[in-house]
Point group: C2
């Protein structure tokens, strides 16, 4: 028996149970062997649920069962999820997860344990939900030196920004609708403030550049300060506003990574990625730019990615996947504020005075109260802040080239 | 020594040599061992070329050298390329190729030989150039039942259609420019007539649905009959015109596959895929829709995909990749004309008479000579042809839903 155990019977965990069951024939064919769901660990009971018979409450049952070869961790967070992951790996079982927080913070260590034990730690679902992205980066783009990775990594904020642009909704109203539709959590801080996107760009940077990028060392600016004035100005200038995570590999080997709202020209494919969809662009020295698009969250899309990892773990039971990265350090990070770009600014000032100070900007819109414009030349964040010193700056976002 | 031989020192072959050399460190890290380019087979001499010392003229040298573990076939066609591929596989060497014609026609047989010999036959570069697509389908989407795959599979025709829309160019002028820029060959039949796209949709269908789809059984309609009237009408109706390959898996297990021009609503991401870029959409029962975008051709992008396969072959030297499909037969194909869709028609007729016959159509444009419209309801190709019987039909394209 090639046994699978699921930790946590929430949205993703129950999706994994469903996909494993419904697509069993295709999965067996692709894995080259039958996979058998044996346990689902949860503190709750699920009377009447079709998966009720799999429920167990004690992790030791899973840990000590030699028939369990793959453990699917969909608990989330870095507490008990971390403990169970370490114990499962130590017990010689492969672990598959959608837990971006755990991978972003402790991926380096957990991969070390997996390597020592000769098992796999796989986490395709931790970035981009169901979008195949981590495996294409490690395998299909393996012949490239990757120079940049960036994208729309959080569906909740993209849904809110899309509503603000398409329906002219105010931020608070768009957030409330997202909560009603189940796209945003009741405590939406992790999404809105860019924390979720930050974890994902760190995992992407880990894989693209081969060193552990600590989320604590990456500046994340969320969408809380994007106003309907900004979306109006952006639309008038033929831009979309998108929250992007971005990680750049510099010539000197240092990595610049950050999360922040950007003005994206409508001619760029990312500008057309709407609602809860995600898209990730990878730039390599041979491939040029390639983009991966799909559902960044949701029960079945995420479960699809988790189960693909389970299949991969089953296929590679005797051969470890060569996924790993090296330890990081502070010196390897390049301050993201020193990355040059063009900038969008909204300032409290009559339009005329902006043009007097910056003859070279493109005015996106304005009136006697407020002006939105895009700079013609590229500069660092501190340089643009200095040169905006004469204005009350209401918004300041990068423009994606 | 883990030796690599390249067959054919043309655009892709020389790109492979360059990528293997320039990105050697990253490749060795990803493959877990050093790869050494040892031979390049070509009938020509290349005096002064940096790779001159690798050139050999006799395939037997490669065939009989036990140090050669991977053979890269970039010759093209189904003649000598097929012979060398069979001999390399028979000699126990893995073969990697960008040759879509050979894979589309003889992939089933060649994979059988590879399986018997315990080696790999890999062809990521045969579809979508550098875009990671075949491996994501076989691995990342392995937990899905795939219901549909479609996309822009040919960069030459997409360049021509983009020029016709963006610059209002006539077909012949756009083709000539594409030839001058090297995007189209001097004999462009294979691209223009949809033959190249047909081979690629067959390979995608093979992998998505697990049975060999014979290119001879797939109807391919090219872009030769797309006129500037059509692009004008499409633009007016907020559509792009794209040549799409499409393969649908029906509930009864049959497969419908075809290549034809489509009107694509501007709200669909595919409508924004311009110039020589390619994009492929995969629809699965768990993932929903996911899209892969990038350079569909070109020296380095294609070489990037080839070398990724070489790395994969080297990593899986002792373990075959589970890529294969079953033999096909005629009964498994569903006639593509019986797939229902909305339709765009351009007819020689004054606008008034179209509206009298079809009150429910959307008129995209017209005058006393010609009218372009989109039907409101879905129908098969034969049904729309019957109902258009009273008109002289100048163009008839599907509308992508």
């Amino acid at each position: 028996m090639y046994g699978v155990a699921i930790l946590g019977f929430g949205v993703v965990g129950s999706g994994v149970a469903e996909v494993l069951t419904e697509n069993a024939a295709r999965i067996a064919k692709n894995a080259g062997r039958d996979l058998a769901l044996k346990y689902i660990l949860d503190v709750r009971e699920f009377p009447g649920n079709p998966f009720e018979r799999f429920i167990v409450h004690d992790f030791a049952v899973i840990e000590n069962d030699p028939e369990i070869r793959v453990v699917v961790e969909t608990i989330g967070g870095v507490g008990v999820a971390q403990d169970f992951t370490r114990r499962a790996l130590a017990a010689g079982k492969s672990v598959v997860t959608s837990n971006k927080e755990l991978v972003a913070k402790f991926g380096y260590e957990l991969l070390q344990i997996a390597q020592e034990r000769g098992v796999n730690y796989l986490f395709e679902a931790s970035v981009g939900g169901g979008i195949p992205i981590l495996r294409p980066i490690t395998q299909c783009l393996a012949a490239n030196r990757i120079t940049e990775v960036y994208g729309i990594l959080n569906g909740t904020t993209n849904y809110i920004l899309t509503s603000m642009v398409r329906d002219g909704a105010a931020f608070d109203d768009a957030l409330r609708t997202a909560q009603q539709l189940g796209y945003a959590e009741q405590n939406p801080t992790s999404d809105i403030d860019g924390i979720d996107a930050c974890r994902k760009i760190c995992i992407l940077a880990d894989l693209c550049y081969g060193r552990h990028v600590n989320p604590d060392a990456v500046t994340a600016i969320g969408i809380g300060k994007v106003t309907s004035d900004d979306t109006r100005f952006a639309t008038a200038g033929n831009y979309a506003i998108k929250l992007l995570g971005r990680a750049v590999s510099r010539e000197d080997g240092r990595i610049a990574a950050y999360v922040a709202p950007h003005l994206v020209p409508k001619s760029h494919l990312l500008a057309s990625v709407e609602g809860v969809m995600n898209a990730i662009v990878v730039r390599g020295n041979a491939i040029g730019e390639t983009m991966f698009y799909g559902a960044g969250a949701g029960k079945l899309p995420t479960a699809s990615a988790v189960v693909a990892d389970v299949i991969d773990a089953a296929k590679h039971d005797s051969l470890r996947k060569l996924i790993s990265w090296e330890e990081g350090d502070e010196g390897m990070m390049f301050p993201s504020g020193q990355l040059e770009s063009r900038w969008y600014a909204r300032v409290a000032s009559p339009e005329g005075s902006v043009k007097r100070v910056y003859p070279d900007v493109t005015i996106l819109g304005g009136d006697t109260e407020v002006t939105g414009f895009v700079t013609a030349s590229r500069s660092t964040k501190s340089a643009i802040e200095v040169s905006l010193g004469g204005f009350e700056v209401l918004s300041l976002f990068r423009v994606l080239d």
